[in-house]
């Protein structure tokens, strides 16, 4: 098994202002779509855009507090941990985010 971290690289995804407050954008990296989310207080999070329930595109959901509600069946995910909230059981992968000079950088594997 190869060391994931050695293959990891940072991607310059977009400008900080490209993501609306309480909104989202998405980037495609090979087979993977990553949702980028900006909360009310301006923090930015990146998670796997695919809901583990029925593959709903999370970037299309409503952003509230530090969570997003999936547009298909209303599962709610914590943007910090990727964990589903409430009664639903599931988790999406989270990605490290860094802001450099007004740009949003995301650490992706591979």
């Amino acid at each position: 098994m190869s060391d994931v971290s050695s293959k990891a690289r940072w991607v310059d995804a977009c400008g900080v202002d490209d993501i609306p407050f309480r909104g989202s954008r998405r980037i495609v990296e090979g087979d993977l779509t990553i949702g980028l989310f900006k909360t009310m207080d301006g923090n930015i999070y990146a998670i796997d855009n695919k809901c583990p329930h029925k593959n709903g595109p999370l970037s299309e959901g409503i952003v509230h507090d530090t969570s997003v509600t999936c547009p298909l069946h209303s599962w709610v995910f914590d943007l910090k941990t990727g964990q589903a909230r409430g009664a639903d059981d599931g988790c999406v992968k989270t990605f490290e985010v860094d802001r450099r000079d007004g740009r949003v950088w995301v650490k992706v594997a591979g």
Partner: protein
């Protein structure tokens, strides 16, 4: 209110003993006067505070003379004469003339714009004045005056309160609590002046201001005098009954004439007059018993407690809390939290309590005051910490209620104890608040004990009690949809953050349930002013297409009334080919649906459809969806009217309107009903003589035939009625409540009353709808296809690297 209660009690025990006639000087039914302040502030409507609707009078065979003041009682002939000459005989008579507001006879007190605060007419006058804006002066800083001031302030007026005494509400509050109240109200922008002696009211032909005896001059367009009430006893006096401050009654509420009783604020009993509801309801109970020949129940003078009905001000007082020889006080203050509590003891007994900022122990203290029981020396030092401390228990509200003795009073207005409530829950098998209200009256008057009653239900029923009967908007708030809607309008809240702050949302920015609801309420309340918050809309309404299970979208262009043309069909065919759209289908609403469109393609698809003259069909929104039609008199041999034309007109008027939930219409050209109008939200069936308008059907999770709204003769009327109906739903419906659910909640008759019977209201609704539509009818596809709006929605980001 008191005579209404007396009759209720009477009808309960002896339904057929008397034939009852009521003379009411006010032109309306019996309503809950205590709740006028929430009506003034906009937190309730008049309908909410009606105690006896028309059906109650009918059911109990009561004749009601509305707006008919009694001018004469002839005790010898046993008749009563009304102002317009109506004469009625009586065997027994109840006088309940209430009280008159005291108007200080200062110069200018008769000028138009000087009013009292007593009944709904006064509230209407205040609301009319508030609409014009300007400053209101309230003379009198007592309970009523402050409720009026707070209400007027919420309605947008500048408000000054003039109070003769050094501190507010000095009869119910001690100076410390009065000061805290003053600070709180000043903080809300109400100008409060104590020790202010009004010298005169001035103005030419109407109020222009007031002058104080220290020379100060305050301009005002409205003066509310709330300096006290006097029992209204002229009628009784003229009839030769014994009166002093009020109409003299004995402990059975009998006046000096054994066939004449009196209850309410007009009464004097052992030197006391009453203005708070609890003793008045007790009088009503005693009077009803006396009318049935039961002499055992007797009215007794008792202590009363007071609460101020100003949202956000928690204030409670009971008993006697003046300083005095041989009295001791216990005081607790927490400045940071704005809490003040003071207990007054005489000897070993608690005789008075004032609570400000935190009043949950109010009823516990009040029951101790009424019991007059000794407070043991070792409990004295902890008494002020209240019941939960005394019980050594936790602050769990359920435990606190469980610890109350059975005779503890829960509902102060109606004098209902914990034991009575628990008993009726068990005996009558009650399971909810509404049940307790109708069986015991508890929490049915001012409503401040609702939480306690719910706790009792939970206590008695355990898990069987289905939480509060009120459905809150979501977990972010304790308020229901109705309250949120009303407060948004009455307090003129115009943004989601403002609503969340003012209404004390429990989360920082709401959730996926409440944000779309709030966004809709604001859109519907402030057309042209509120800026739509896209981030608070569900994805479908944000990108104006329907998300599918694989993340692609479906696109449904509008086809007015279900009609289309060869050019439109050709354009659709071209779009399907150009964008490789995998599926095309006809919907149940006579539209073409293109399924499987990639999100990135949406703007280009729309551009092509726009070019052929097609606009968004809003098949994705809580909005006007479709108007389905049959071909009507154009083609059909049975068609009676131009159903297609009417459908197109309706759709052109209504498209773009946001609604609480989706809205689907249909117009059928004859009663054969080929467009299935009788299961739609709104349906029209054309007949030879005109148009039958239907509403509140359903054909989804529930199947429900429509109800007939009315029949009209002309197409113009049909359009007006349909628009008024849709607007009423837009203004009253809860978010995600279909028309049939809304109509069921408010009752179909209430809808008919407002649309069919009230021409003025119908016209106003239509007017508001048209105004709102003037901002709503921009094609959202065009705005996005051109890249002007929300471009970020449709692009995948290209990493820069």
């Amino acid at each position: 209110m008191a005579p209404g209660r007396a009759l209720e009690t009477l009808f309960d025990s002896h339904p057929d003993m008397y034939e009852v006639t009521i003379f009411n000087a006010e032109p309306r039914v019996n309503y809950n006067r205590i709740m006028l302040s929430p009506v003034l502030s906009g937190e309730s409507s008049f309908e909410d505070i009606i105690i006896h609707g028309d059906e109650w009078y009918a059911e109990n065979n009561v004749t009601l003379h509305r707006g008919e003041m009694v001018t004469e009682i002839d005790r010898k002939a046993k008749t009563v004469t009304g102002a317009s000459g109506i004469v009625e005989n009586f065997d027994k008579l109840i006088i309940a003339t209430g009280s008159n507001p005291f108007i200080i006879p200062m110069p200018g007190h008769k000028l138009p714009g000087v009013i009292a605060y007593r009944d709904l007419d006064d509230v209407d006058l205040m609301l009319a004045a508030a609409k014009k804006g300007g400053r209101a002066v309230v003379i009198g800083g007592g309970l009523l005056g402050l409720e009026a001031a707070a209400g007027l302030k919420l309605r947008g007026m500048d408000v000054t309160v003039l109070h003769l005494m050094p501190t507010l509400m000095e009869r119910q509050l001690d100076p410390a609590a009065g000061y805290m109240l003053e600070k709180e109200l000043s903080g809300r922008g109400i100008d409060i002046r104590c020790e202010a002696n009004t010298k005169e009211i001035y103005g030419e032909g109407k109020v222009e201001g007031v002058r104080l005896d220290d020379g100060a001059d305050i301009e005002a367009s409205l003066v509310v005098m709330a300096v006290g009430i006097r029992p209204s006893l002229q009628l009784a006096k003229d009839a030769g009954l014994e009166t002093d401050r009020g109409i003299q009654v004995d402990e059975q509420m009998q006046t000096s004439d054994p066939d004449v009783y009196a209850v309410g604020e007009c009464v004097e009993f052992e030197g006391n007059c009453y203005g708070l509801v609890a003793p008045l309801y007790e009088q009503a109970r005693v009077c009803a018993a006396a009318l049935t020949g039961n002499k055992e129940s007797a009215f007794e003078h008792a202590e009363v407690s007071t609460k101020l009905k100003v949202t956000g001000v928690d204030l409670f007082s009971a008993g006697d809390f003046a300083d005095g020889h041989g009295r001791e006080e216990i005081v607790f203050r927490d400045a940071a939290r704005g809490i003040y509590k003071r207990l007054v003891l005489e000897g070993d007994r608690l005789i008075g309590a004032v609570l400000y900022g935190e009043t949950s122990d109010g009823s516990w203290f009040f029951s101790k005051i009424k019991e007059g029981a000794e407070v043991p020396a070792d409990e004295r030092s902890t008494l002020i910490f209240g019941q939960s401390y005394a019980g050594g228990g936790s602050l769990d509200p359920l435990a606190a209620v469980a610890a109350l003795p059975d005779d503890a009073e829960i509902c102060g207005c109606n004098g209902i104890s914990k034991g009575q409530i628990l008993q009726s829950i068990e005996k009558e098998g009650l399971t909810d608040l509404a049940g307790v209200r109708s069986c015991t009256k508890a929490s049915s008057s001012c409503g401040t004990c609702t939480g306690l009653v719910e706790s009792l239900l939970a206590l008695q029923l355990g898990d069987a009690f289905a939480a509060p009967s009120k459905t809150t908007v979501c977990g972010c708030s304790d308020l229901g949809h109705d309250e949120v809607r009303r407060l948004i309008v009455s307090q003129k809240m115009k943004s989601i953050p403002e609503v969340m702050q003012s209404l004390e949302w429990k989360t920082s920015c709401g959730c996926a349930k409440c944000r779309p609801a709030l966004n809709y309420y604001l859109v519907a309340s402030w057309p042209g002013e509120y800026v739509d918050d896209g981030q608070s809309r569900f994805i479908n309404e944000r990108v104006h297409a329907n998300i599918q299970k694989d993340g692609t979208y479906s696109v449904v262009p509008r086809a007015w009334g279900g009609m289309t043309t060869s050019a439109e069909l050709r354009a659709v065919a071209d779009v399907v080919d150009k964008f490789n759209i995998p599926a095309v289908k006809y919907t149940g609403g006579q539209r073409i649906d293109m399924l499987g469109v990639k999100k990135e393609d949406l703007p280009a698809v729309w551009a092509d459809l726009n070019a052929a003259g097609m606009v968004s069909g809003h098949a994705y929104g809580k909005s006007l969806r479709t108007v389905k039609t049959c071909v009507g008199s154009d083609w059909c041999r049975f068609g009676t009217q131009d159903s297609t034309g009417l459908g197109i007109k309706l759709e052109k008027l209504m498209w773009g309107a946001w609604t609480p939930h989706k809205v689907k219409l249909a117009v059928s050209g004859c009663p054969r009903n080929c467009s299935e109008a009788t299961c739609k939200d709104i349906g029209v069936i054309c007949v030879d003589s005109g148009y039958e308008i239907h509403f509140a059907g359903a054909a989804g999770m529930e199947i429900l035939g429509t109800e007939v709204l009315c029949k009209v003769a002309t197409e113009d009327e049909a359009l007006e009625y349909c628009m008024a109906l849709l607007q009423l739903y837009r203004e009253q419906g809860f978010y995600l409540e279909r028309i049939y659910k809304w109509a069921k909640r408010v009752s179909h008759d209430k809808v008919r009353e407002q649309i069919v019977e009230d021409a003025e209201k119908r016209a106003a609704l239509k007017e508001r709808f048209m105004y709102s539509q003037s901002f709503a009818q921009d094609d959202p596809w065009e705005a996005r296809a051109s890249g002007r709006v929300d471009a970020h929605e449709f692009n995948v980001l290209e990493p820069a690297e």
